[in-house]
Symmetry: none
Subunit: 220 residues, 4 copies
Amino acid sequence: MSSVTSAGTAVRPLRKDAERNRALILGAAREVYAAQGLDAGFDEIARAAGVGVGTVYRRFPERGDLVEALFEQEIDAVVARVEQAAADPDPWRGLGDFLRWGAEAQAADRGLAQVLAAAGRGHERVAAGRDRLRPAVEALVRHAQQAGVLRDDVTEVDLGIALAMISQLGDAGSSDLRDRYVTLVLDGLAVRRDGPTPLPPAQPSEDDLACVVAPARRHR
Amino acid sequence: MSSVTSAGTAVRPLRKDAERNRALILGAAREVYAAQGLDAGFDEIARAAGVGVGTVYRRFPERGDLVEALFEQEIDAVVARVEQAAADPDPWRGLGDFLRWGAEAQAADRGLAQVLAAAGRGHERVAAGRDRLRPAVEALVRHAQQAGVLRDDVTEVDLGIALAMISQLGDAGSSDLRDRYVTLVLDGLAVRRDGPTPLPPAQPSEDDLACVVAPARRHR
Amino acid sequence: MSSVTSAGTAVRPLRKDAERNRALILGAAREVYAAQGLDAGFDEIARAAGVGVGTVYRRFPERGDLVEALFEQEIDAVVARVEQAAADPDPWRGLGDFLRWGAEAQAADRGLAQVLAAAGRGHERVAAGRDRLRPAVEALVRHAQQAGVLRDDVTEVDLGIALAMISQLGDAGSSDLRDRYVTLVLDGLAVRRDGPTPLPPAQPSEDDLACVVAPARRHR
Amino acid sequence: MSSVTSAGTAVRPLRKDAERNRALILGAAREVYAAQGLDAGFDEIARAAGVGVGTVYRRFPERGDLVEALFEQEIDAVVARVEQAAADPDPWRGLGDFLRWGAEAQAADRGLAQVLAAAGRGHERVAAGRDRLRPAVEALVRHAQQAGVLRDDVTEVDLGIALAMISQLGDAGSSDLRDRYVTLVLDGLAVRRDGPTPLPPAQPSEDDLACVVAPARRHR
DNA sequence: AATGAATGAGCTTTCATTCAT
DNA sequence: GATGAATGAAAGCTCATTCAT
């Protein structure tokens, strides 16, 4: 049990110092990626972690490995938060919380925004994280639609895209500002007495989400 | 007349060949920036223009100079389009056209999207362009609000930000997809029978627009 | 004519300064490769040439380009020398000169030895040089055999291999020492009154030459 | 006995597991050096031995220490083989066996070839091995010369160098190919009815053997 | 004593900017 | 004024050796 990662692969546990460095690196990467996005160099992360570059490469031989290891954790947190929103007895409030919190999280972390936008293109475990995310968002959508508060012609993907749009209100944008547009978008999503304007096209695909810009560095 | 740039500063007129090169460079930059965004190197622009890099540097010593010269023109086109939308006898249709066309234009031109998002941060003349843009958008907003179709608590800045959000649905996003979110956002903007949800905060400032990400190249 | 390289491809002549640097680089490469072999880094060559690394990369984008450009010249010199040996009215003396001079040249230039040993594996123009070399050595062999001084069961390839063997008597070996073994090998090659010992196998192929060690750096 | 290494220096006996590791490392080094030459990294040897790199460094602090320990053994085998050849009642056959077998052995073991070529330059105990080798080769030479089949002007050093030359016909060369050049060189070494060509210089020194290339790793 | 993690120098390659021609 | 060659800093990655566990 203790020698099993969250991915389920049995591995020998790292030596204590190695584990400490691994944690230092992940911590540094979190900060650096949050501040600069995924283009940040290993050099900078190593410096921030107080270890040599070689150590980063030893622990994460492929650049993607670090991204995966880091955002696997982060996405787990996102999933938990979304599930919590989906469980809200007031589905509309849950929807709002989802958008607000999601926008907040991505605004505070450029790396997270890039990873979510790229939908784990090339990141197996991140993509797996997205797969865990999806049912939660679907539940959110279903509940709100069943409660008659969310228009019927939007899907789980629309919600993801709406979130991505709001999240572009970058790092510098104040929390208030994001709230303003969350509200505005929510109003667009709400069921209207006079009925919503029909949305073209019928069904955006999961891949459409990946079109949202801010593409992560191309991993060779 | 010939010894005056469009910005109004008196300069010695360029030699004829220099003038020709300037035009070649601007043309090339338009294409390159549209395709790759403002991070594209001068090298590439020079190649596309069929001149040496040195020539580009001589004509536009600072990277910003080229951006300014180029997008001053482009923004003029945007202004014209917005004024046309503002003149539409059907203000709601004008609003829709503004968003649709704006999103389209930015999707087709990554550089334009970056410039508009950055709101001319550091680009004096681009900022001036935005100042010409503002009254047109204000007119658009005023007309639609007077006609009772646009909620009263949104401003021209909100409209700019809404456009920026939609425009983030990058180059790869299909026109249909953009339309979908234009529609959705428009529904959020529309006056509702049951009244809109109040928007926080009261008044986003002009500078808030600059928070929209897609940041220009980081200058060391 | 003046704008044509020795390979026959028409190119625009380099600017004077570029040409000067190209020459500096080739000169430096000659020395560095001679002393250290083809594994030497571009950094070192640049330093020896007194130019920046970037310049070396500009002029020779692929590592192989520099090797080719350099040894194309060198091999031309080798070819000339071998042709001269083949033209000697005394074929046996020609043979001796070939071995002596060839061994000398390779002992003085580790790079040349590597290039000749690798037989231009991956170096188009070097291989072409070898192709020009071959007929000259064949003539040498033929003349000596027709004169009845060289045993009939050796071929052009055998001569190449014999040369390679002697050339391994490295850089430090004195000229006298090499002469000693040239003489010894020549005695093995000479027609003997009591007849030579038959040589297995019948026909070494051209590729066998490439088996001689000292393999050049693997070019990616 | 157990507290004395084969070199005769008194040392505290190794712990049993240390002794086992030492053996594992030597076995692995034999294989790795044979395949890749002496440039192989300690890392690779450690992996092949199934121990950590640190262990290799502890056991053999200097790279040379491992080479010495390993080839001291190997050279003993060579010495035995040469003595056997020297004992052959047919001295010419003994000579042929020596060259053939020596070339074969070096072709099969790049490390051995490098060590013999470097003649123990900087390897005290390997040099000592060569000292044991020398009388055997001298006997070989003496017998063959006394039998009138080997020319009188060659020495045991010449034989070593001849062997080194042939051995350069690297790992890839077929056994047949090596035989071809063994034969050719033997013909050069044989007494000729019409008398041999005199060899310059009179006496190659022992050190001349070290000039044969295939230099060991360059120590920075 | 054994381990393999950590180190950091070194080499490669690219590219924005300057400058000789 | 135009050119594109030259520059050198920077980023990526590897690997021989040391050292904490």
